[in-house]
């Protein structure tokens, strides 16, 4: 459903420029903060499995650490992926489990299907170069695009923070495949180290 623009609508060129600037600022910030961290909440729904929890994501030079905590008990799984030596999930009662593919390992352990590699770039607000991106009519910021059958929607962005230098970054993302598979992410905080 087309949302009613909440302000003066940008021209096509203005939108392209706004989008390009957002991409540049985001890429520069992430390059300057290689071990960036994001804390938020994730909800996953699929035909046979679903759940929600806190997601604490820390970037590594060659991978990432994703900690998913359950409500109340905050029982936590820590998934560490470093390209070279694959993935390991710790915090399970049966002890750590390893695998070469992080997504497959997470699926085997939890039944959750999360496109972790794509999610990593989606959460950074970096839109793929080779796909058409629908831009917000008022701000020019990315609003929606499709990547490997995931329809990704940026529903909310943060405001750039001059004091900390944190640029405009995603705050709410929804990614769906068809009607039944959905990943929703609300980002509560960004930090550079």
């Amino acid at each position: 459903c087309a949302t009613i623009p909440s302000g003066p609508v940008m021209s096509e060129t203005q939108k392209q420029q706004a989008h390009a600037m957002q991409q540049e600022n985001a890429a520069a910030w992430f390059a300057a903060h290689p071990s960036w961290n994001m804390a938020g909440r994730i909800a996953v729904s699929a035909p046979n499995n679903s759940g929600s929890g806190r997601l604490d994501w820390t970037n590594l030079r060659d991978g990432y650490v994703a900690e998913i905590s359950a409500p109340i008990t905050r029982q936590t799984w820590r998934l560490t992926y470093t390209g070279a030596d694959g993935a390991v999930i710790e915090g399970l009662s049966g002890g750590a489990r390893r695998g070469s593919d992080a997504e497959q390992l997470l699926f085997e352990v939890s039944g959750w299907r999360i496109p972790l590699n794509e999610l990593r770039t989606w959460m950074q607000g970096i839109t793929p170069a080779d796909v058409t991106v629908l831009r917000d009519p008022v701000t020019g910021l990315p609003q929606q695009f499709t990547q490997d059958e995931w329809q990704v929607r940026y529903e909310e962005w943060t405001v750039a923070d001059a004091a900390t230098g944190v640029p405009v970054l995603p705050k709410r993302i929804t990614a769906t495949v068809g009607e039944t598979t959905k990943v929703k992410l609300v980002i509560d905080s960004w930090s550079g180290e």
Binding site: A39, R41, S52, T73, G91, K182
Partner: protein, 185 residues
């Protein structure tokens, strides 16, 4: 000792409500999360756990199912009420009579004005916790600390306890609001 305090707390406990503050520390001791809210429980397996800060989240156990409602994510996740809660240190609130069956309970001295009990899961009890401690004072549970398999420490401090109050049955039922995704269960 703390054991007597536990017995005073759980003895004849049919229902209760309290406010709580919860803090989670990483294995390196860094404060990772600080939340607050209120809880209500009623024997035998009904409980309601509502986070109000920093963001809303409601968890209701209605005796057969657990409902987790996240307004910001517009999602309700439902699953069968099962082992996690019963085995977790929350069991002291939910079904105290089973505490000894699941944990080795030992006196752990007095500190911070509280009398402490340590809980070590018995063989085969998997609540995902390596250790837990209960802190009592004046026959009330004031603190619940537990450490998980990653060495992450959670401390929950309780206040404003009310015992054996009458709680409307609707508190332990959950009807998903319109327009949110209801998943599972």
């Amino acid at each position: 000792g703390a054991r007597d305090e536990l017995n005073r707390f759980t003895g004849g406990l049919r229902s209760a409500s309290a406010a709580f503050n919860q803090q989670v520390f990483t294995s390196k001791g860094k404060l990772k999360e600080s939340t607050a809210g209120g809880l209500a429980m009623q024997q035998p397996k009904l409980f309601r756990w509502v986070y109000t800060k920093p963001y809303p989240q409601t968890v209701v156990a209605d005796g057969t199912k657990i409902w987790v409602y996240e307004p910001d994510l517009q999602q309700v996740t439902v699953r069968q009420q099962g082992a996690e809660e019963a085995n977790s240190p929350l069991a002291v609130l939910i079904n105290p009579s089973r505490l000894d069956a699941q944990y080795i309970v030992k006196e752990a001295g007095t500190s911070g004005g509280l009398q402490w009990l340590s809980l070590t899961p018995r063989k085969g009890v998997d609540g995902g916790f390596t250790s837990a401690k209960l802190g009592f004072n004046k026959g009330l549970l004031q603190r619940l600390d537990f450490t998980d398999g990653l060495g992450q420490r959670t401390t929950i401090s309780f206040s404003n306890w009310k015992r054996n109050l009458s709680i409307p049955a609707s508190n332990f039922r959950f009807t998903p609001p319109k327009g949110v995704d209801v998943i599972g269960g």
